[in-house]
């Protein structure tokens, strides 16, 4: 097990490095730069700025300095656009926001989605099944850029229960709507995935055997059916978790949460190279980490898998 983890990590680091190099070079390919503006800077002013950020150095040297800064000081560099802040500052400000509403939305999506899926499968072709399938299809086809304004219309303008956006230090009133808007479509996918997987498992021989032995129904479901049902779900949940906690750009824009998703897109428009790189590395590391965790969970859940 330990050697497996070490092996995976040994592959992860070069992967990350490759990610850094490729995204660094791709950014340079985009036309314009961080200091391109409506009012082009006079050459002497531009020269001073580029010298200050080391952008006048050859590309290879810039990249080495950048990677060196990360490895030695864990310094992801300055933001070229928000001059009072470093990339570390920006990630420290934006990531906790998204992590908070993303994790809550994830838990909500998993709990409700799995319950709904199981309930539907156990009551196959009953009204409950149709209801659950109906809801999950409805939630899936409503993208969050429609959900957001819809929720605001109901809860902010009509009922006047909640604020229409902002974060305000993470007060619960500000978290509710982003969580709902983010979780619904994931919840729907999880419900449908669970339902179909459960249905498949319920028709398997070992369940029939268990029933033939006369085991009580709830025991069969908890003891025998649940684990194999969740198997296909796990491979879906790893990347989903990362996608949710790294922020939905739509949620961050519409609810003005100040989350990391907003910074990510914004930095691309601004050609704020270091911010963009910092967030890419963060997202990359999270993806690699959670894929590893999912793989380890497989071993725990499926006795056939051994590392």
């Amino acid at each position: 097990m330990l050697s497996y983890i070490l092996r995976r990590l040994a592959v992860a680091l070069p992967t990350l490095l490759l990610l850094v190099v490729v995204s660094f070079l791709m950014m340079q390919l985009a036309p314009g730069g961080p200091f391109t503006s409506e009012r082009p800077l006079p050459p002497e002013v531009l020269a001073n700025i580029e010298a200050q950020y080391g952008l006048d150095k050859p590309l290879f040297e810039q990249m080495l300095r950048y990677i060196g800064g990360i490895l030695v000081d864990f310094d992801f560099g300055p933001s070229y656009r928000y001059k009072d802040r470093s990339v570390n500052d920006i990630i420290a400000a934006g990531f906790p926001v998204t992590l908070t509403y993303g994790s809550i939305a994830f838990v909500l999506a998993v709990v409700i989605g799995v319950s709904l899926g199981i309930a539907a499968a156990l009551n196959h072709n009953s009204w409950l099944d149709y209801f659950a399938v109906g809801i999950s299809i409805g939630a899936q086809v409503l993208p969050n850029f429609v959900m957001g304004p819809l929720l605001v219309l109901v809860f902010v303008l009509a009922l006047e229960w909640l604020p229409g956006g902002g974060w305000n230090g993470g007060k619960w009133q500000h978290i509710v709507l982003p969580v709902i808007a983010l979780s619904t479509s994931y919840m729907a996918s999880i419900a449908r995935l669970t339902r179909s997987s459960m249905l498949e498992v319920l028709h398997m021989d070992f369940i029939r055997t268990a029933r033939a032995k006369g085991l009580p129904s709830h025991y069969i479901i908890w003891r025998h059916a649940l684990k194999p049902t969740l198997m296909p779900l796990f491979s879906y949940l790893g990347p989903t978790f990362v996608a949710m906690v790294t922020g939905s750009v739509v949620i961050d824009f519409y609810f003005a949460t100040g989350g990391i998703g907003y910074f990510f897109v914004n930095s691309a428009f601004n050609r704020d190279y270091a911010v963009m790189m910092g967030i890419t590395i963060l997202f990359g590391s999270l993806t690699i980490t959670f894929n590893l965790i999912v793989d380890l969970l497989y071993a725990w859940i499926d006795p056939k898998i051994r590392y």
């Binding site: 985009a30 009072d84 902010v156």
Partner: protein, 542 residues
């Protein structure tokens, strides 16, 4: 005992709080209006300010915050006139190159230190210095201060900048050559004083709440990047007694429709009217939908450089294109927020400027259309030899609508085939800046309220002259205007030359449209630069 002490403290706080509230809930000393209990002003911005360091700030949203936090030599009143800030008055030498500013003695920083001429000297040297590498360093060059250019280039030491503290309260500025509007430039945020001791103590971190020392009517209380910043009344400000707004909250909301919803929900006092919604909202919320002129111009650049197609180098073609644009249709049916049809580059609202009547401005649209047809035929374009052009704009719903409308006008009236190309902002700027276009959308807002802030773009050497227009007469007239007692004659002449040469197609002069709470008073709608100060606003009771 501990409990007793605490409860005394609490009651003292409650007492003092109720004191200040009772002041806030009083009446306005001049107008007699009943003031609202809650004097908090909350407004929406599109994107976070780039910096709160006065010498590093480069955007309008940053300047708005900085005008509250810091105070420069002069401020503007609600009409846009200069009023004393830290400076009470100034003298000019006979040759108009040396300005002496006399500073008030009661101005102090938020930490209690007096505001002195040395703070300005420090700030201005800092703005020019190579070490700071400010994106606004060009402003000190534009101010024409002695040695500014050489310092920015790194050829001279910042100490050689033509600015000197004669004593603590007298500031002397030497200009390279005379610049009649020099005092106007001192309201710009990059010229605000900065606290040397705080910057040295905290380095780059000095603009964070708690570290920042400022001399304006407000101090920075909270700042969450891309979410909100909060500033509260500065008790040490010399004119604190005249301030009504206790707290100013800036919320970053990128989506204008989301912001509008939050305005309706009562979370904001001010936001922009969503694009194209002005007439509808004006009818629905007449008191809260406001519009006023801005010091900005919307126009199309025509490429005149070597990379330009042959057709555009013909003056008659450029004139035909400019004449055929029906500006009334654009402003009344497309932009729909009271924008002003433009026949000159410089907006009519510019101080000391009266827009000259240029020939094509005097005609009716029908006459212009006929003339346009004649001109294009004379230039050799018609059914047998149709003119094909491409029009570049940055991706945005409103620019797209305007581009479609104008290309339709050209097609219907002149038979010109226009290919529209939209690009993401930075890509667009790159292409326009490198003259990799035929016709490109452009907009310009004045840096100060004087016509040269627009017309300087027509100088052959201007870095912002994206048409690469080159007319020695214009260059000469611009140069003379810098020292003329009355530059208006030169400006009139330049506008007339532009209307003849047509290196750009003026389309409209901007207006600003806001949803603004009717209880928020004293907004400077007549200040065309929209330089507003929270200290001048107040909220009345509903």
């Amino acid at each position: 005992m501990g409990y007793l002490k605490r409860s005394i403290l609490v009651s003292v706080c409650t007492f003092s709080l109720s004191c200040s509230l009772s002041f806030a809930a009083g009446t306005h000393p001049e107008t007699g209006e009943k003031l609202a209990e809650d004097q908090t002003f909350t407004y929406r911005i599109l994107d976070e300010h780039a910096s709160l360091d006065p010498q590093l700030a480069e955007d309008v949203t940053g300047a708005e915050v900085l005008r509250d936090l810091f105070e420069g030599l002069y401020n503007q009143d609600k009409m846009g006139n200069l009023v004393p800030g830290v400076a009470l008055s100034h003298d000019v030498s006979a040759d108009k190159t040396t300005y002496t500013f006399y500073l008030r003695k009661d101005a102090v920083w938020s930490d209690g230190k007096p505001v002195t001429a040395h703070d300005f000297v420090f700030a201005w040297r800092r703005l020019a210095s190579k070490e700071l590498a400010s994106p606004y360093a060009w402003f000190i060059e534009l101010m024409n201060i002695e040695n500014a250019g050489a310092i920015v280039k790194g050829e001279k030491d910042p100490k050689e900048l033509g600015v000197k503290a004669i004593d603590d309260h007298t500031l002397q500025v030497k200009l390279q050559t005379a610049l009649p509007y020099f005092p106007l430039m001192t309201i710009h945020a990059s010229t605000f004083p900065s606290p040397q001791w705080a910057i040295e103590a905290h380095g780059k971190e000095w603009t964070k709440p708690g570290n920042m020392v400022s001399n304006g009517a407000y101090v920075l209380a909270e700042h969450v990047p891309q979410e909100r910043s909060v500033r509260v009344r500065n008790e040490k400000y010399w004119n604190n007694d005249a301030t009504f707004i206790e707290k100013v909250v800036t919320l970053v909301i990128n989506d204008e429709n989301a912001a509008f919803t939050r305005f309706l929900a009562g979370e904001l006092d001010r936001t922009k009217v969503p694009t194209g919604k002005f007439p509808e909202l004006k009818e629905k919320y007449p008191e809260e939908t406001v519009v006023f002129p801005r010091l900005c111009s919307y126009y199309y650049n025509i490429n005149l450089s070597d990379s330009a197609p042959e057709s555009l180098r013909d003056k008659r073609v450029r004139q035909a294109l400019a004449y055929a644009v029906d500006r009334k249709i654009i402003t009344q049916n497309v932009t729909k927020a009271g924008q002003f049809p433009a026949f000159t580059f410089t907006p009519e609202v510019t101080a000391g400027f009266s827009a000259p009547e240029v020939p094509f401005g005097k005609m009716s649209q029908q006459e212009r259309d006929e003339k346009a047809r004649e001109l294009l035929v004379a230039a050799g374009y018609g059914k047998d030899n149709p003119l094909n052009l491409s029009l570049l704009y940055n991706s945005s719903e409103s620019h797209k609508k305007i581009a479609i409308a104008i290309s339709q006008m050209w097609k219907q009236k002149l038979g010109v085939q226009t290919t529209l190309a939209n690009m993401e902002w930075k890509t667009f700027l790159e292409r326009r800046g490198k003259q990799d276009y035929e016709i490109a959308r452009a907009g310009w807002c004045g840096d100060y309220n004087e016509a040269s802030t627009f017309l300087d773009l027509m100088h052959s050497q201007s870095g912002y002259n994206d048409s690469k227009y080159n007319n020695p007469d214009v260059d000469r007239l611009l140069k003379e205007a810098k020292t003329a007692d009355n530059p208006q004659e030169n400006y009139t002449r330049i506008e007339q030359i532009i209307a003849e040469d047509m290196p750009i197609i003026p389309i409209y002069h901007y207006t600003e449209d806001y949803m603004m709470r009717a209880t928020l008073k004293n907004w400077p709608t007549k200040n065309a630069e929209q330089n507003w100060y929270s200290k001048d606003l107040y909220k009345v009771a509903e």
